[in-house]
Point group: C2
Chain length 256, copies 2
Protein backbone atom coordinates (compact mmCIF):
# COMPACT_ATOMS: atom_id res chain seq x y z
CA UNK A 1 0.00 0.00 0.00
CA UNK A 2 1.18 3.50 -0.75
CA UNK A 3 -0.80 5.87 1.44
CA UNK A 4 -0.47 9.63 1.00
CA UNK A 5 3.02 10.95 1.62
CA UNK A 6 4.95 14.16 1.97
CA UNK A 7 8.73 14.67 2.04
CA UNK A 8 10.50 17.82 3.14
CA UNK A 9 14.19 18.64 2.77
CA UNK A 10 15.98 21.68 4.22
CA UNK A 11 18.79 22.80 1.95
CA UNK A 12 22.27 23.14 3.44
CA UNK A 13 25.05 25.46 2.45
CA UNK A 14 23.23 28.60 1.34
CA UNK A 15 25.39 31.72 1.55
CA UNK A 16 24.44 34.75 3.66
CA UNK A 17 22.02 36.73 1.50
CA UNK A 18 23.09 40.32 0.83
CA UNK A 19 20.87 43.17 -0.37
CA UNK A 20 20.32 42.91 -4.12
CA UNK A 21 21.40 39.26 -4.32
CA UNK A 22 19.02 37.18 -6.46
CA UNK A 23 17.58 34.19 -4.60
CA UNK A 24 16.69 31.94 -7.54
CA UNK A 25 20.26 31.09 -8.67
CA UNK A 26 21.27 30.43 -5.05
CA UNK A 27 18.28 28.09 -4.52
CA UNK A 28 18.85 26.39 -7.89
CA UNK A 29 22.49 25.72 -6.99
CA UNK A 30 21.52 24.32 -3.58
CA UNK A 31 18.92 22.01 -5.14
CA UNK A 32 21.58 20.74 -7.54
CA UNK A 33 24.02 20.06 -4.67
CA UNK A 34 21.29 18.02 -2.98
CA UNK A 35 20.54 16.08 -6.19
CA UNK A 36 16.93 17.26 -6.09
CA UNK A 37 15.45 17.49 -9.59
CA UNK A 38 12.63 20.00 -9.07
CA UNK A 39 9.19 19.51 -10.63
CA UNK A 40 6.07 21.63 -11.00
CA UNK A 41 4.50 19.58 -8.18
CA UNK A 42 7.16 20.59 -5.64
CA UNK A 43 6.83 23.48 -3.23
CA UNK A 44 9.77 25.69 -2.30
CA UNK A 45 9.46 27.26 1.17
CA UNK A 46 11.57 30.35 1.69
CA UNK A 47 12.08 32.05 5.03
CA UNK A 48 10.85 35.67 4.96
CA UNK A 49 14.18 36.81 6.32
CA UNK A 50 16.22 36.04 3.19
CA UNK A 51 13.53 37.54 0.95
CA UNK A 52 13.69 40.73 3.00
CA UNK A 53 17.50 40.73 2.95
CA UNK A 54 17.52 40.23 -0.83
CA UNK A 55 15.03 43.09 -1.20
CA UNK A 56 17.16 45.28 1.13
CA UNK A 57 14.40 45.85 3.68
CA UNK A 58 16.98 46.92 6.27
CA UNK A 59 16.36 50.09 8.26
CA UNK A 60 18.96 52.03 10.25
CA UNK A 61 17.64 52.78 13.77
CA UNK A 62 19.83 55.90 13.92
CA UNK A 63 17.67 57.61 11.29
CA UNK A 64 14.37 57.01 13.09
CA UNK A 65 12.54 60.03 14.54
CA UNK A 66 10.42 58.84 17.45
CA UNK A 67 6.87 60.17 17.73
CA UNK A 68 5.13 60.96 21.01
CA UNK A 69 2.77 57.99 20.44
CA UNK A 70 5.68 55.57 20.00
CA UNK A 71 7.44 56.98 23.07
CA UNK A 72 4.38 56.37 25.28
CA UNK A 73 3.76 52.90 23.85
CA UNK A 74 7.44 51.97 24.31
CA UNK A 75 7.12 52.63 28.05
CA UNK A 76 4.07 50.35 28.26
CA UNK A 77 5.67 47.49 26.31
CA UNK A 78 9.22 48.05 27.61
CA UNK A 79 10.76 48.17 24.15
CA UNK A 80 13.21 50.48 22.35
CA UNK A 81 11.18 53.60 21.32
CA UNK A 82 12.86 53.60 17.89
CA UNK A 83 11.75 50.01 17.35
CA UNK A 84 8.21 50.86 18.46
CA UNK A 85 8.17 53.82 16.06
CA UNK A 86 9.04 51.51 13.16
CA UNK A 87 6.45 48.96 14.30
CA UNK A 88 3.77 51.67 14.34
CA UNK A 89 4.73 52.84 10.85
CA UNK A 90 4.40 49.25 9.60
CA UNK A 91 0.97 48.79 11.24
CA UNK A 92 -2.60 49.91 10.92
CA UNK A 93 -3.69 49.05 14.48
CA UNK A 94 -2.31 48.09 17.89
CA UNK A 95 -4.11 44.89 18.94
CA UNK A 96 -2.50 44.25 22.36
CA UNK A 97 0.21 45.96 24.38
CA UNK A 98 1.70 44.51 27.58
CA UNK A 99 5.19 44.39 29.12
CA UNK A 100 7.48 42.93 26.40
CA UNK A 101 4.50 42.24 24.13
CA UNK A 102 3.34 44.42 21.23
CA UNK A 103 0.85 42.76 18.90
CA UNK A 104 -0.30 44.79 15.91
CA UNK A 105 -2.13 44.47 12.65
CA UNK A 106 0.55 44.84 9.99
CA UNK A 107 -0.54 46.95 7.02
CA UNK A 108 -0.55 43.67 5.04
CA UNK A 109 -3.38 42.55 7.35
CA UNK A 110 -1.28 40.07 9.34
CA UNK A 111 -1.86 40.17 13.10
CA UNK A 112 1.59 39.58 14.56
CA UNK A 113 4.11 40.57 17.22
CA UNK A 114 6.25 43.63 16.45
CA UNK A 115 4.85 43.93 12.89
CA UNK A 116 7.45 41.36 11.90
CA UNK A 117 10.23 43.92 12.50
CA UNK A 118 13.16 41.65 13.21
CA UNK A 119 16.60 41.87 14.78
CA UNK A 120 17.64 38.20 14.78
CA UNK A 121 19.97 36.64 12.20
CA UNK A 122 20.85 39.99 10.64
CA UNK A 123 24.23 41.74 10.60
CA UNK A 124 24.61 44.90 12.75
CA UNK A 125 21.47 44.13 14.74
CA UNK A 126 22.42 46.76 17.35
CA UNK A 127 21.80 49.49 14.79
CA UNK A 128 19.61 47.86 12.13
CA UNK A 129 16.31 46.04 11.82
CA UNK A 130 14.75 44.08 8.99
CA UNK A 131 11.18 44.67 7.77
CA UNK A 132 8.85 42.20 6.07
CA UNK A 133 8.89 42.20 2.25
CA UNK A 134 6.72 45.04 0.95
CA UNK A 135 4.41 42.59 -0.87
CA UNK A 136 5.19 38.95 0.01
CA UNK A 137 2.72 37.50 -2.52
CA UNK A 138 4.40 39.53 -5.27
CA UNK A 139 7.82 38.43 -3.99
CA UNK A 140 6.67 34.80 -4.15
CA UNK A 141 5.37 35.22 -7.71
CA UNK A 142 8.60 36.89 -8.83
CA UNK A 143 10.72 34.19 -7.22
CA UNK A 144 8.60 31.49 -8.85
CA UNK A 145 9.14 33.07 -12.25
CA UNK A 146 12.89 33.40 -11.61
CA UNK A 147 13.08 29.78 -10.43
CA UNK A 148 11.46 28.72 -13.70
CA UNK A 149 14.17 30.63 -15.59
CA UNK A 150 16.88 28.89 -13.52
CA UNK A 151 15.40 25.40 -13.23
CA UNK A 152 13.22 24.88 -16.28
CA UNK A 153 10.56 23.73 -13.83
CA UNK A 154 8.05 25.80 -11.94
CA UNK A 155 7.61 24.65 -8.33
CA UNK A 156 5.17 26.58 -6.16
CA UNK A 157 6.73 29.14 -3.80
CA UNK A 158 5.66 29.87 -0.21
CA UNK A 159 7.30 32.61 1.87
CA UNK A 160 7.15 31.73 5.57
CA UNK A 161 7.39 33.55 8.86
CA UNK A 162 6.91 32.32 12.42
CA UNK A 163 4.00 33.62 14.48
CA UNK A 164 3.07 33.44 18.16
CA UNK A 165 -0.44 32.27 19.03
CA UNK A 166 -2.83 33.87 21.54
CA UNK A 167 -3.64 30.76 23.59
CA UNK A 168 -0.67 28.53 22.96
CA UNK A 169 3.03 28.81 23.75
CA UNK A 170 5.73 28.67 21.11
CA UNK A 171 5.95 30.03 17.60
CA UNK A 172 4.59 28.24 14.56
CA UNK A 173 5.38 28.72 10.87
CA UNK A 174 2.84 30.52 8.69
CA UNK A 175 2.59 31.36 4.98
CA UNK A 176 2.85 35.12 4.37
CA UNK A 177 3.45 34.97 0.61
CA UNK A 178 2.52 32.38 -1.95
CA UNK A 179 2.46 31.58 -5.65
CA UNK A 180 1.25 28.46 -7.45
CA UNK A 181 -0.39 26.67 -4.51
CA UNK A 182 -3.92 26.56 -3.10
CA UNK A 183 -3.42 28.35 0.23
CA UNK A 184 -6.91 27.31 1.38
CA UNK A 185 -8.59 24.06 0.43
CA UNK A 186 -12.35 24.44 0.23
CA UNK A 187 -14.19 21.32 1.43
CA UNK A 188 -17.67 22.85 1.27
CA UNK A 189 -20.19 20.22 0.29
CA UNK A 190 -17.76 17.30 0.63
CA UNK A 191 -19.27 14.33 2.43
CA UNK A 192 -17.74 12.56 5.40
CA UNK A 193 -17.45 8.75 5.63
CA UNK A 194 -21.08 8.50 6.72
CA UNK A 195 -22.41 10.82 4.00
CA UNK A 196 -22.79 13.86 6.27
CA UNK A 197 -21.84 17.23 4.77
CA UNK A 198 -18.65 18.65 6.32
CA UNK A 199 -19.04 21.71 8.51
CA UNK A 200 -15.33 22.49 8.38
CA UNK A 201 -15.21 24.18 5.01
CA UNK A 202 -11.66 25.41 4.64
CA UNK A 203 -8.32 23.82 5.39
CA UNK A 204 -5.26 26.07 5.78
CA UNK A 205 -3.02 24.06 3.45
CA UNK A 206 -0.18 26.55 2.96
CA UNK A 207 -0.03 27.35 6.68
CA UNK A 208 -0.01 23.67 7.64
CA UNK A 209 2.86 22.95 5.27
CA UNK A 210 4.70 26.11 6.32
CA UNK A 211 4.44 25.03 9.97
CA UNK A 212 6.41 21.86 9.26
CA UNK A 213 8.82 23.52 6.81
CA UNK A 214 9.87 26.20 9.30
CA UNK A 215 10.72 23.49 11.87
CA UNK A 216 13.35 22.24 9.43
CA UNK A 217 14.66 25.76 8.88
CA UNK A 218 15.62 26.27 12.52
CA UNK A 219 15.79 29.60 14.32
CA UNK A 220 19.41 29.87 15.41
CA UNK A 221 22.88 29.68 13.84
CA UNK A 222 22.00 26.42 12.10
CA UNK A 223 19.48 28.38 10.00
CA UNK A 224 18.55 26.70 6.72
CA UNK A 225 16.21 29.24 5.12
CA UNK A 226 15.00 27.12 2.18
CA UNK A 227 12.99 23.89 2.35
CA UNK A 228 11.65 21.92 -0.59
CA UNK A 229 8.62 19.64 -0.31
CA UNK A 230 7.16 16.95 -2.51
CA UNK A 231 3.92 15.00 -2.32
CA UNK A 232 0.20 15.62 -2.09
CA UNK A 233 0.07 18.92 -3.95
CA UNK A 234 -1.35 17.48 -7.15
CA UNK A 235 -3.79 15.35 -5.12
CA UNK A 236 -5.22 18.43 -3.43
CA UNK A 237 -5.74 20.26 -6.68
CA UNK A 238 -7.26 23.47 -5.31
CA UNK A 239 -7.02 26.76 -7.19
CA UNK A 240 -3.77 28.66 -6.59
CA UNK A 241 -4.29 31.70 -4.39
CA UNK A 242 -2.41 34.40 -2.54
CA UNK A 243 -1.33 34.05 1.06
CA UNK A 244 -3.17 37.34 1.58
CA UNK A 245 -6.41 35.47 0.92
CA UNK A 246 -5.88 33.49 4.15
CA UNK A 247 -6.17 36.63 6.26
CA UNK A 248 -9.56 36.71 7.98
CA UNK A 249 -11.60 39.74 6.86
CA UNK A 250 -11.71 42.53 9.46
CA UNK A 251 -15.48 42.21 9.75
CA UNK A 252 -15.09 38.60 10.96
CA UNK A 253 -12.46 39.47 13.60
CA UNK A 254 -13.87 38.72 17.06
CA UNK A 255 -10.53 39.41 18.78
CA UNK A 256 -9.60 43.04 18.05
CA UNK B 1 24.74 17.08 0.88
CA UNK B 2 22.03 15.72 3.10
CA UNK B 3 20.26 18.67 4.68
CA UNK B 4 17.62 18.11 7.35
CA UNK B 5 14.67 16.05 6.21
CA UNK B 6 11.25 14.90 7.30
CA UNK B 7 9.01 12.26 5.73
CA UNK B 8 5.34 11.77 6.49
CA UNK B 9 3.14 8.87 5.41
CA UNK B 10 -0.63 8.61 5.93
CA UNK B 11 -1.66 5.01 6.45
CA UNK B 12 -4.35 3.57 4.20
CA UNK B 13 -6.88 0.90 4.93
CA UNK B 14 -7.66 1.40 8.62
CA UNK B 15 -11.05 0.02 9.63
CA UNK B 16 -13.79 2.17 11.17
CA UNK B 17 -12.91 2.35 14.87
CA UNK B 18 -15.67 1.10 17.19
CA UNK B 19 -15.99 1.81 20.92
CA UNK B 20 -13.64 -0.42 22.88
CA UNK B 21 -11.50 -1.32 19.88
CA UNK B 22 -7.77 -1.11 20.69
CA UNK B 23 -5.86 1.22 18.36
CA UNK B 24 -2.35 -0.20 18.73
CA UNK B 25 -2.94 -3.52 16.90
CA UNK B 26 -4.79 -1.69 14.10
CA UNK B 27 -1.91 0.79 13.69
CA UNK B 28 0.70 -1.97 13.89
CA UNK B 29 -1.07 -3.92 11.15
CA UNK B 30 -1.32 -0.84 8.94
CA UNK B 31 2.40 -0.07 9.38
CA UNK B 32 3.19 -3.63 8.37
CA UNK B 33 1.02 -3.35 5.23
CA UNK B 34 3.00 -0.21 4.30
CA UNK B 35 6.35 -1.96 4.93
CA UNK B 36 7.24 0.68 7.52
CA UNK B 37 9.55 -0.74 10.20
CA UNK B 38 8.91 1.62 13.12
CA UNK B 39 11.74 2.99 15.26
CA UNK B 40 11.95 4.96 18.52
CA UNK B 41 12.76 8.06 16.44
CA UNK B 42 9.47 7.94 14.55
CA UNK B 43 6.37 9.85 15.53
CA UNK B 44 2.87 8.42 15.14
CA UNK B 45 0.16 11.07 14.67
CA UNK B 46 -3.33 9.92 15.52
CA UNK B 47 -6.47 11.92 14.79
CA UNK B 48 -8.39 12.72 17.99
CA UNK B 49 -11.53 11.31 16.44
CA UNK B 50 -10.41 7.67 16.45
CA UNK B 51 -9.03 7.99 19.97
CA UNK B 52 -12.41 9.31 21.12
CA UNK B 53 -14.25 6.57 19.22
CA UNK B 54 -12.01 3.89 20.76
CA UNK B 55 -12.63 5.40 24.22
CA UNK B 56 -16.39 5.52 23.53
CA UNK B 57 -16.73 9.26 24.04
CA UNK B 58 -20.07 9.24 22.19
CA UNK B 59 -23.00 11.05 23.72
CA UNK B 60 -26.67 10.62 22.78
CA UNK B 61 -28.30 14.02 22.19
CA UNK B 62 -31.67 12.56 23.21
CA UNK B 63 -30.50 12.24 26.82
CA UNK B 64 -29.38 15.85 27.16
CA UNK B 65 -31.35 18.15 29.45
CA UNK B 66 -30.92 21.72 28.24
CA UNK B 67 -30.26 24.43 30.84
CA UNK B 68 -31.59 27.97 30.60
CA UNK B 69 -28.05 29.25 30.00
CA UNK B 70 -27.56 26.87 27.06
CA UNK B 71 -30.95 27.81 25.62
CA UNK B 72 -30.09 31.52 25.62
CA UNK B 73 -26.62 30.97 24.22
CA UNK B 74 -28.02 28.69 21.49
CA UNK B 75 -30.19 31.55 20.23
CA UNK B 76 -27.19 33.87 20.06
CA UNK B 77 -24.95 31.38 18.21
CA UNK B 78 -27.77 29.79 16.16
CA UNK B 79 -26.86 26.24 17.20
CA UNK B 80 -28.80 23.22 18.50
CA UNK B 81 -29.51 23.93 22.22
CA UNK B 82 -28.61 20.32 23.11
CA UNK B 83 -25.24 20.74 21.41
CA UNK B 84 -24.67 24.03 23.23
CA UNK B 85 -25.54 22.36 26.54
CA UNK B 86 -22.86 19.71 25.92
CA UNK B 87 -20.35 22.36 24.86
CA UNK B 88 -20.97 24.28 28.09
CA UNK B 89 -20.52 21.14 30.20
CA UNK B 90 -17.18 20.51 28.48
CA UNK B 91 -15.98 24.09 29.06
CA UNK B 92 -14.85 26.44 31.81
CA UNK B 93 -15.50 29.71 29.96
CA UNK B 94 -17.21 31.12 26.87
CA UNK B 95 -14.58 33.15 24.98
CA UNK B 96 -16.64 34.41 22.02
CA UNK B 97 -20.19 33.89 20.83
CA UNK B 98 -21.50 35.10 17.47
CA UNK B 99 -23.92 33.73 14.85
CA UNK B 100 -22.66 30.19 14.03
CA UNK B 101 -19.55 30.69 16.19
CA UNK B 102 -19.08 29.46 19.76
CA UNK B 103 -15.49 29.60 21.02
CA UNK B 104 -14.87 28.32 24.54
CA UNK B 105 -12.10 27.33 26.86
CA UNK B 106 -12.36 23.54 27.12
CA UNK B 107 -11.81 22.21 30.64
CA UNK B 108 -8.48 20.84 29.33
CA UNK B 109 -7.45 24.48 28.79
CA UNK B 110 -7.74 24.40 25.01
CA UNK B 111 -9.40 27.45 23.47
CA UNK B 112 -11.42 26.04 20.60
CA UNK B 113 -14.70 26.13 18.67
CA UNK B 114 -17.55 24.05 20.15
CA UNK B 115 -15.29 22.54 22.85
CA UNK B 116 -14.25 20.00 20.23
CA UNK B 117 -17.72 18.44 20.33
CA UNK B 118 -17.93 16.87 16.92
CA UNK B 119 -20.57 15.53 14.54
CA UNK B 120 -18.47 14.80 11.43
CA UNK B 121 -17.23 11.34 10.45
CA UNK B 122 -19.26 9.61 13.16
CA UNK B 123 -22.13 7.16 12.71
CA UNK B 124 -25.64 8.38 13.68
CA UNK B 125 -24.55 12.02 13.71
CA UNK B 126 -28.18 13.17 13.76
CA UNK B 127 -28.56 11.79 17.27
CA UNK B 128 -24.97 11.48 18.57
CA UNK B 129 -21.89 13.63 19.11
CA UNK B 130 -18.31 12.75 19.94
CA UNK B 131 -16.36 14.41 22.77
CA UNK B 132 -12.59 14.89 23.04
CA UNK B 133 -10.70 12.17 24.93
CA UNK B 134 -10.99 12.79 28.69
CA UNK B 135 -7.20 13.17 29.03
CA UNK B 136 -5.44 13.24 25.65
CA UNK B 137 -1.92 13.23 27.13
CA UNK B 138 -2.80 10.08 29.09
CA UNK B 139 -4.36 8.56 25.95
CA UNK B 140 -1.13 9.28 24.06
CA UNK B 141 1.00 7.70 26.79
CA UNK B 142 -1.22 4.60 26.91
CA UNK B 143 -1.16 4.24 23.13
CA UNK B 144 2.64 4.62 23.11
CA UNK B 145 2.94 1.83 25.66
CA UNK B 146 0.53 -0.39 23.69
CA UNK B 147 2.42 0.31 20.44
CA UNK B 148 5.62 -0.82 22.15
CA UNK B 149 3.87 -4.07 23.09
CA UNK B 150 2.73 -4.54 19.49
CA UNK B 151 5.79 -3.28 17.60
CA UNK B 152 8.77 -3.88 19.85
CA UNK B 153 9.67 -0.26 19.15
CA UNK B 154 8.49 2.85 20.92
CA UNK B 155 7.71 5.71 18.53
CA UNK B 156 6.45 8.96 20.02
CA UNK B 157 2.68 9.51 19.85
CA UNK B 158 0.88 12.78 19.10
CA UNK B 159 -2.92 13.09 19.17
CA UNK B 160 -4.07 15.79 16.77
CA UNK B 161 -7.14 17.93 16.29
CA UNK B 162 -7.83 20.79 13.88
CA UNK B 163 -8.35 24.31 15.22
CA UNK B 164 -9.58 27.55 13.70
CA UNK B 165 -7.47 30.66 14.22
CA UNK B 166 -8.69 34.11 15.28
CA UNK B 167 -7.10 36.16 12.48
CA UNK B 168 -6.68 33.61 9.73
CA UNK B 169 -9.10 31.54 7.67
CA UNK B 170 -9.02 27.76 7.53
CA UNK B 171 -8.32 25.13 10.15
CA UNK B 172 -4.85 23.97 11.10
CA UNK B 173 -3.72 20.79 12.88
CA UNK B 174 -2.66 21.05 16.52
CA UNK B 175 -1.26 18.62 19.11
CA UNK B 176 -3.76 17.99 21.92
CA UNK B 177 -2.06 14.92 23.41
CA UNK B 178 1.53 13.79 23.34
CA UNK B 179 3.99 11.23 24.65
CA UNK B 180 7.70 10.83 23.96
CA UNK B 181 8.31 14.08 22.05
CA UNK B 182 9.42 17.58 23.03
CA UNK B 183 6.23 19.55 22.38
CA UNK B 184 8.10 22.85 22.82
CA UNK B 185 11.72 23.37 21.86
CA UNK B 186 13.39 25.91 24.12
CA UNK B 187 15.92 28.04 22.26
CA UNK B 188 16.64 30.42 25.16
CA UNK B 189 20.25 31.52 25.07
CA UNK B 190 20.93 30.04 21.62
CA UNK B 191 22.88 32.39 19.37
CA UNK B 192 21.88 33.42 15.86
CA UNK B 193 24.33 33.38 12.93
CA UNK B 194 25.75 36.73 14.02
CA UNK B 195 26.15 35.78 17.69
CA UNK B 196 23.01 37.59 18.87
CA UNK B 197 20.90 35.83 21.53
CA UNK B 198 17.56 34.68 20.17
CA UNK B 199 14.48 36.50 21.42
CA UNK B 200 12.18 33.77 20.18
CA UNK B 201 12.66 31.25 22.94
CA UNK B 202 10.18 28.51 22.24
CA UNK B 203 9.26 26.69 19.06
CA UNK B 204 5.97 24.77 18.92
CA UNK B 205 7.46 21.55 17.54
CA UNK B 206 4.52 19.19 18.12
CA UNK B 207 2.02 21.70 16.74
CA UNK B 208 4.15 22.37 13.65
CA UNK B 209 4.41 18.67 12.89
CA UNK B 210 0.74 18.09 13.66
CA UNK B 211 -0.20 20.85 11.21
CA UNK B 212 1.44 18.95 8.34
CA UNK B 213 0.31 15.52 9.53
CA UNK B 214 -3.36 16.52 9.64
CA UNK B 215 -3.15 17.73 6.02
CA UNK B 216 -2.34 14.15 5.04
CA UNK B 217 -5.22 12.82 7.13
CA UNK B 218 -7.89 14.71 5.19
CA UNK B 219 -11.23 15.82 6.57
CA UNK B 220 -13.74 14.01 4.39
CA UNK B 221 -14.54 10.47 3.27
CA UNK B 222 -10.90 9.86 2.29
CA UNK B 223 -10.01 10.13 5.99
CA UNK B 224 -6.70 8.50 6.91
CA UNK B 225 -6.56 9.05 10.67
CA UNK B 226 -2.98 7.84 11.28
CA UNK B 227 0.21 9.41 9.93
CA UNK B 228 3.76 8.28 10.69
CA UNK B 229 6.73 10.64 10.45
CA UNK B 230 10.48 10.14 10.41
CA UNK B 231 13.36 12.60 10.58
CA UNK B 232 14.63 15.38 12.79
CA UNK B 233 13.30 14.14 16.11
CA UNK B 234 16.64 12.91 17.41
CA UNK B 235 18.33 16.08 16.12
CA UNK B 236 16.02 18.28 18.17
CA UNK B 237 16.60 16.33 21.35
CA UNK B 238 14.39 18.36 23.67
CA UNK B 239 12.86 16.87 26.78
CA UNK B 240 9.61 14.98 26.20
CA UNK B 241 6.61 16.90 27.49
CA UNK B 242 2.85 16.84 27.52
CA UNK B 243 0.74 18.63 24.93
CA UNK B 244 -0.96 20.28 27.91
CA UNK B 245 2.31 22.13 28.55
CA UNK B 246 1.83 24.02 25.28
CA UNK B 247 -1.31 25.71 26.58
CA UNK B 248 -0.54 29.32 27.49
CA UNK B 249 -1.14 29.97 31.21
CA UNK B 250 -4.37 31.86 31.91
CA UNK B 251 -2.45 34.77 33.45
CA UNK B 252 -0.68 35.35 30.11
CA UNK B 253 -3.93 35.34 28.09
CA UNK B 254 -4.43 38.77 26.52
CA UNK B 255 -7.44 37.62 24.47
CA UNK B 256 -10.12 36.46 26.92
Amino acid sequence: MNGASLSLLALDGLPEIEPGMALAPVIAAALKRHDWAPSADDIVFVCQKIVSKSENRFLDLANVEVSEEARKLAVRCEKDPRLVEIILRESTEVIRCAPRVLIVRHRLGLVMANAGVDQSNIPNSDSHVLLLPADPDASAAALREALFQNLGASPAVVITDTFGRPWRLGVCGTAIGSSGIATLLDRRGAADRFGRKLLVTQVAVADGLAAAATLLMGEAAEGRPVVIARGLQRAWGGKAARAADVIRPLIEDLFR
